[in-house]
Symmetry: C2
Subunit: 404 residues, 2 copies
């Protein structure tokens, strides 16, 4: 029986007229067996061209105008891909976020999807036509254009897959799938055939940039299986499965890392209820994503509160923390931008102990100092010096025999 | 008292970051005294870039997709101009055709404006904010994007001026105003300070490409005074006035010409009621604009029916005429693409005779043969050989002393 599949193509997959033509072939082939809905990013280079234009008028362009500007990138690629399909005799129609009412919050450049007009998409599919939908963008209640932030097209694709009850969301990229770690850092990194949603969620959050974090969260929440594969090479990619389908989970499935982080430590704050909220509340209101959060046991009612954010949010967080200094009454603010995160992820950690100590031992034997440790059920995150990231990953990849 | 003025800026006026900045200065200056609403074209070069992309997928891209594609050009320039104004401390907001509901017919690439949400624009103006509106585009009842055809931004500007009861519509271009004839053909052509709407209508229709014909028609119909001026040089431009404000109209105000025309003659058709409609009905349905139409007196109940259309419509008109051959029963179809039109325009012709014969005499003395003559109250149109256009214009410009 025919399935309904959402296919998403990123910027490099659509980077030229020839690439758009190649993508049209992939869609044509898939549409012979299944009903296909497509989500597209802007052609690679286009978004940067638009951002450069915007920056000609100052470093801080109005966010509403900025979003209206950059959203044109996806409108262009959706119309062109639709034309490419027509030239192959396939029925297709482009749709902007406004045309299928991808409603979002009004946080320009960081908007979150609230709703999608599934009926419109289903009507098009019913008509044996392939809808080519602009990713990355949405509209507010008032009809203003928003964007979801970089990588947001993945989220659009999964959200649409969820709303139209698609059987799967195929995310086409320029890599062959998910690897045990970054092949640029570890030469014998291996492609995984499948990975659990939880593992992927942890990996994505930690800088495995193949699929956007929020997209995986959406997939997890709405039970949409996601497959990551290449639009450049044939291959089955990596299936991000809903359940632990393998009998036995790997102890460690992969290693992720993330640079461009900054660590904030509020030294000597009162360890009283509400402190964490008082610190993180205004930061979250400013739509800054806080990553690792660590608070150690208190001594004499005082503790150190540490968290990391993306480098680009450093200034705004500094400002917020200075605004709430009197309320929080911290002694000192320590900012360290020279850090990176390395994470081990594996669903098998749940039932096996000793992974953490094995990792710490291997790193210490190789003179990598661990500044912060933070563990969850299936993940161990370590904050280390930025310059030691490559060494740490290679050590861990070998220690846990991920090349085998 | 403060007036409300719609300012329209074309592609060359917005052709670079520097030009956009210069336009923002013009708007800033004007906004000190008056309420300003702005309509923009795409940055010059952008529309052609998009058309080239579209043509990569065949010569005849789907018109719905084509319109969605090229409409991004104006979205980009409206957002950028808005940012440029912000950088000068001026409040501005960009609006797409969809956002202010510029409703059009669904003839893609040749859509006609039906309605505009004036209230939305007035609300923005009320808020001391300058709306920067995308020209050239609209939306259908069903929410699909349309475009008005090249030059359509002028029409958008005049339509908006009409709907919000603006005091004037200023159309900024790369020329200083309307001239007695093309300064490239006649070196001492003179800029006119004012011209009547009727004269402009005749001139625009005959290839004086400074303002789009439909825009002048709109201006005429809704009584919107239009001023044409340069965004590159200071100057008062040419005012296209609603009434004959000068005491005495010039005999001949200007000379227009148009190449790229093709002449169709249906030889020996029956001179019976309905013939003209049977010929022109299906051509008009195909959205082809017919220009000069001439039918001479009949001899023995048979006549010759001649009309001209733009070269680009030649194939479609041929096809239509071949479809209706049996119904019309013409003897022969004569197609001549080697023609051009030259027109003398002047409100003074109404009360003065002898203009036509003076023109014919001057041309014949210079060996220019006139194939077709067609006159209206304020215009004399002559169809001549394409290669003789420059000569004819110079002869007429001198004959009617337009350089004085």
């Amino acid at each position: 029986m025919s399935e309904t599949i959402v296919q998403k193509f990123g910027g490099t997959s659509l980077g030229s007229v020839e690439r758009i033509d190649a993508v049209a072939e992939i869609i044509k082939k898939a549409s012979k067996k299944n009903k296909i809905a497509v989500v597209v990013s802007a052609m690679s280079g286009e978004t940067n061209r638009l951002i450069d234009l915007a920056n000609s008028f100052g470093n801080n362009p109005d966010k509403r105008e900025f979003d209206a500007l950059v959203s044109t990138g996806e409108t262009i690629s959706s119309a062109l891909l639709s034309m490419a399909l027509h030239s192959k005799g396939i029925k297709a129609r482009s749709f902007s976020a406004s045309q299928i009412a991808i409603r979002t919050t009004s946080s320009y450049s960081k908007a979150k999807i609230l709703d999608v007009d599934a009926k419109k998409i289903l009507d098009v599919l019913e008509n044996d036509t392939i809808p080519i939908i602009t990713g990355f963008q949405g509209i507010t209640e008032g009809g203003d254009i928003t964007t979801l932030g970089r990588g947001g097209s993945d989220t659009t694709a999964v959200a649409i897959a969820a709303q139209i009850n698609a059987n799967r969301c195929d995310i086409y990229t320029d890599v062959d799938g998910i690897f045990t770690t970054d092949p640029d850092i570890v030469s014998n990194a291996k492609k995984l055939d499948s990975i659990t949603m939880e593992e992927m969620l942890e990996l994505a959050g930690q800088g495995a940039k193949v699929v956007q974090t929020r997209a995986v969260e959406f997939a997890n929440k709405y039970h949409v299986p996601v497959r990551v594969l290449s639009s450049f090479n044939d291959g089955s990619g990596t299936l991000i499965s809903l359940k632990d389908e393998s009998m036995e989970n790997a102890l460690v499935s992969g290693i992720a890392s993330q640079k461009d982080q900054v660590k904030f430590t509020l030294h000597s704050v009162g360890d009283i209820p509400g402190t964490a909220f008082k610190i993180l509340g205004p930061i979250s209101e400013a739509e800054v994503e806080v990553d690792v959060i660590v608070q150690n046991v208190s001594i004499d009612g005082k503790t150190d509160f540490t968290f990391t954010v993306s480098n680009e949010d450093q200034e705004i967080v500094k400002k917020i923390l200075s605004n709430i200094k009197d309320e929080i009454n911290y002694k000192e603010l320590i900012i360290n931008p020279d850090i990176a995160k390395v994470s081990l992820v594996g669903a098998g950690m749940r039932s096996q102990s000793g992974v953490a100590s094995k990792a710490f031992k291997a790193l210490s034997e190789n003179d990598v100092n661990i500044q912060i440790i933070c563990t969850s059920e299936i993940k161990i995150t370590m904050v280390i010096k930025e310059e030691e990231v490559e060494k740490a990953i290679n050590v861990l990849h070998e220690e846990f025999e991920l090349d085998k």
